[in-house]
Amino acid sequence: MTASANLANLLALFAIAPLCAAGGSLLIPRFQLLPRLHTHSLAALLAGVVNLMLALWLMASTVQGTHLVLHVGGHQGPFGIVLVADVFSALLLLLTAVIYLGAVPFAIDVLDQRDRMGFYPLSLFLLMGVNGTFLAGDLFNLYVFFEILVITSFVLVTLGGQRDQIRGGLRFVVLNLLGSMVFLGAVAVAYGTLGTLNMAHIAVLLRQPDLPAWLAPMMAGLLFVAFAGKSALFPLHFWLPCSYHTTHPVVNALFGGLLTKVGLYSLFRLFPLLFPEQLASWQPAFLMLAGASMVIGTLGGLSGDTIRRALSFQIISHIGFIFAGLALAGARNGVLAAGLAPAILYLAHHMVVKTAVLMAGGAVELELRTGRVVPGPDGGAGGLLTHRRWLAIWFFLTALSLAGIPPFSGFTGKLGLLRLMVSMEQWLLLAVAVLSSFVTLYMIMRLWQGAFWGSPQVRCEGGPMAAPTRLEPGFGLLTLTPIAVLVGCSLLMGVFGESAWSVANQAAATLADAETYIDSVALAGHLADVGH
């Protein structure tokens, strides 16, 4: 107990390390150390490495299904701040660490003046917010870490101050702000009726038989609206397509990998733990939202006129896939875990591959100086295949993984979800999912064709492609290596599908097992005794 309690202190480092690095880079003036490296990017790199090592340690120590619980400052139980890590948190923290460490070299390579406008400290604050959200053990700290990450993303989304960025960013800010307020309303309802904000304690108290019937649905509804907005689920998705593509490719890659996934994490964490009944009884509505997200995301991706717009819009369809897994899991009474596993696997796949494909898409856009690669009257024929062969290869591989072609991770995750749909006899959803996968494949092949095929000399008259391709320096190893590493992760997750499944199963079992969660948080706090 004491040993694990001491080790649990390391959980705080997930927030402290990025915070120190960010604060340090704000205090220390930025000066060049190497031609490409300055103090800020060095701080980001170091924090990213520390974060990755911490995440690896956490993964190793929780993969058996154990929980690490830190009662911050020694304040026990439901009254103090609790950080809880289980294998699901650890998995997402690990993926976050990998994505962040991949985005930093990309930023070092291709970032423009935004480098001087504080991209690195901001990205570190973003990392801190994401990490904290994955670890928070009570609703209010979930809110606080959410706000850290959301406010940082407000600044990152408008960093550069372009006209389109401000216009898209304004919608982004307003909708996320409203989502946060709804979340705050849920916090108020929880504290006002149950007198606690600790998630485990809420889970215990919600099981009391004599609660008012409106309480759980109301809390579940408020939290669902808040997190569906943050994760860009169908009716609340419109802030994403109007803002993501306006940002710098680095920011876009970071957002694509991390931002919406935090909302999904919260849904995955809270619904099986607190509202299993609502998860089951609201299943038809949830499935409709998931299916609508798949359709909207896929069609939006198809209609996107620039490469990053298409790829960003397509995130919504993946959110639909992952959420469908959660919604399907809800009805399998007693076997919640069996339903959650494919969704978790798909979530892991999506985070890695989306970042990789957005990096590759961003690289294409930087190289061509335009994102309009969709074949048509005002785009296409980028002809990058001849002189950017490696970029072409990596983009092709990420595209295959995105569409779910074996042996990449997209296949195993998608197969699991489709099998789940078959076993639940959700034929309509199955049809939508399969169709949207094919349309995704078509979309991404069209992008590939437009960006890489053709001769670079043959240009559309007067169109944006008339700008000369920048054949000199451009990006190099620092851009291609992270993409290659992320593709490698996807390939490993696909080839060693068995191990990936076992981790996903373990994470799903931990998520579905509310008792163990409650017990491990309550270990020192004796929640049952301090109930109302």
Partner: protein, 160 residues
């Protein structure tokens, strides 16, 4: 009774906030968001019931070790702490939103940005290493120097 009044007030704030947000006007958007955030602060404030005329400090008479103190008439301090956090966050975001809207007006009026110029049509992907000025210099200029040609900049008497 006072709880009912508070509930009506929350309703009023939420209603008028929503109305203002839907007006498609930048200033009304900010005001509307402010009203809505105050409504949610009031919801938290009233979450644990209203206690009048007391402080959120537990009286500590001498007592035995295992005995819980008499709570009695006592204001719960936690909602106060929650509201404080929420107010600070809301204030910061509102300030940022105002800055954004200000920036939107600047960019809209700026000579460098003709209407309808999309992000991709602007040739700004010349990363710092080439040394040629690009669009982001525009932002840096507005950050580092008093903006030229705006009201007030000339009257400051600086060495322009």
């Amino acid at each position: 009774m006072s709880v009912l009044l508070l509930a009506l007030l929350v309703m009023l704030l939420l209603g008028s906030g929503t109305y203002l947000i839907l007006r498609q006007h930048a200033m009304k958007l900010i005001l509307g968001l402010g009203l809505i955030s105050h409504a949610f602060n009031l919801i938290i404030f009233s979450a644990t019931g209203l206690t009048a005329g007391t402080v959120p400090i537990l009286p500590l008479p001498p007592r035995k070790a295992d005995e819980l103190p008499e709570v009695g008439h006592f204001a719960d301090p936690l909602p106060h702490a929650l509201i404080l956090t929420a107010i600070v966050i809301g204030f910061g975001v509102t300030a940022y939103l105002i800055a954004l809207i200000q920036r939107l007006h600047e960019v809209r009026d700026g000579a460098d940005y003709s209407a309808g110029t999309a992000y991709h049509d602007v040739e700004h992907f010349s990363p710092g290493r080439t040394g040629e000025p690009d669009d982001y210099m525009y932002l840096e200029d507005t950050l580092n120097e008093p903006p030229i040609g705006r009201a007030g900049a000339d009257t400051l008497g600086e060495d322009q």
